[in-house]
């Protein structure tokens, strides 16, 4: 209904909707970006270069990268098992994959403290035997981030794998390809865009995750203070420039991820159309 755009009704519809998006999404992003450059680029850099801020950004990026890599492996394996293997309670287990999306992040944090905290069985055991602290330390953050990002790669890869025809693999096998060759030359190229999409989503979620991390990690500078927690602390102490600086870097990373995702989508669509 391309002609719809010129009808008065269509124009009103478009005007209202676009205004809503402008107010809800575009304007806030513009406002924070302007705020970031309020005092000039040198001032912005000064806020980001503070040792505490820099540390929080560094640890966040490292953790997010680890999360993305682990999820690529576990997520792809999970999708593979869900599509290609048969086992009891498959439907229920498939449903459970979405649990981390359905559960509030703060509840995730509480659950992990109940399970791994110093008062718990597992937490006390790890502390006494291996002298490893899980909660209020980086292992806790890793576990929390793995939990909240688990579904991304699975849910990106699963549908692609489902549509992939087994015949192609069988043809490759009959033509003498080894399982390793089949995996890298037949399966991987098909799955690759969806794996990258899932990894990018995990990465950006891990960058910004707050609710579970603030409970599990506490807020210890130079130890467990990730970027989102740092920003929260600066807002709480009314240090707007400090919060803006780190926010701006995180926001830039989000935009980069968004750009990548859109590029993959564009590439996919062009590929499908031939």
């Amino acid at each position: 209904m391309k002609e719809n755009k010129s009808t008065p009704g269509g124009l009103v519809l478009r005007g209202i909707t676009l205004s809503y998006i402008a107010l809800l999404i575009v304007l806030p992003v513009i406002a924070i970006s302007c705020k970031a450059f309020d005092g000039g680029i040198a001032r912005l850099w000064q806020e980001i270069a503070l040792p505490q801020a820099l540390f929080s950004l560094k640890i966040t990026l490292i953790l997010a990268l680890i999360i993305a890599i682990v999820n690529v492996i576990t997520g792809t394996a999970t999708a593979w098992v869900l599509v290609r293997c048969d086992f009891p309670f498959k439907r229920e287990i498939n449903a459970i994959i979405d649990l981390p999306f359905a559960i509030p992040t703060i509840v995730t944090g509480i659950m992990l403290v109940a399970l791994y905290g110093p008062r718990s069985f597992v937490g006390a055991f790890m502390q006494n035997t291996f002298n490893v602290e899980i909660i209020y330390n980086s292992p806790g953050i890793l576990i929390a981030l793995l939990f909240v990002t688990f579904p991304f790669v699975v849910r990106c890869v699963q549908p692609v794998l489902q549509e992939m025809e087994k015949e192609i693999e069988e043809a490759a096998m009959t033509l003498g390809a080894s399982p390793v060759q089949i995996f890298w030359k037949v399966i991987m190229p098909t799955l690759f865009p969806s794996i990258v999409t899932g990894a990018a989503l995990s990465f950006s979620r891990a960058l910004g995750e707050f609710g579970s991390v603030v409970i599990v990690a506490g807020n210890i500078p130079f130890k467990t203070q990730v970027a989102a927690v740092y920003v929260y602390g600066e807002i709480e102490s009314s240090n707007v420039p400090g919060a803006t600086g780190v926010s701006f870097i995180l926001l830039a990373c989000s935009f980069a991820v968004l750009l990548l995702l859109n590029f993959i989508q564009y590439w996919n669509r062009r590929h499908e159309e031939g």
Binding site: L13, V29, A31, A95, F101, T105, I143, G208, F210, Y232
Partner: protein
Amino acid sequence: MKRGDRILMVLVLGWIAVLVLLPLSGIVREVWTNGLSSLVELLRQPTALRAFMLTFWLTLGSVVINTIFGTMLSFILVRHSFRGKVFLEGIIDLPFAVSPVIAGFMFIILFGPRGWLGSWFDAQNIKIIYAFPGMLLATLFVTFPFVVREVVPVLREYGIEQEEAALVLGASPWQTFWKVTLPSIKWGMIYGITLTIARAIGEFGAVIVVSGGIINKTQTATLLIHHKFMDFDFTGACAAAMVLAAVSFIILIAMQYIFSKRQV
């Protein structure tokens, strides 16, 4: 099943058990060992009830507003063509990519007492930040993409022939929407709404930043859990967390049902 597949299956199921299922047991045990009394006690606190009610109103508001605008946007994206559409498509997912803390912070900058829009509202004596409107805005922001993302593919696949037929047969655009378009996108829409509900109930980062954490006034269910946890009332935090976990479980089951309906 090949041997390699079998080993992989055991590994994957073990991973799911340890990563996803085991944590659930922790919270259930915590509430269990204290008996159900902690749960009963929680539900008798007026503060807690008020927090759950506030979460309810925020969720309801987000669902209604974002379903309306989400459906309108989907319609525009699929049926209209205009300049800047590619850009528009590109920014729909922005709320998913932005950290919730930053989402809340953006609204403070915009609607705070000295913000671009905040100073105007301040002059009218309307409170946005540290009040319900600001919390609603933050929740609207983080839940915006859900309905759009679910409705757009359905609308695209469905095509426009039936709508055109209805219009040719003399139906008004309004009638066409209610009688032809809406029934076809219904399940996609409901699925998007379910996701919106789950996220709105659970939103924490964006809401805590704009709420100011005023007990009995701007305290939602998730903020209540946080407050109890910081107050060393771990049992209370667990009880409240279990209530929310139970709600998410129901949502998860509903999602499965709706998803299977949508496939039909």
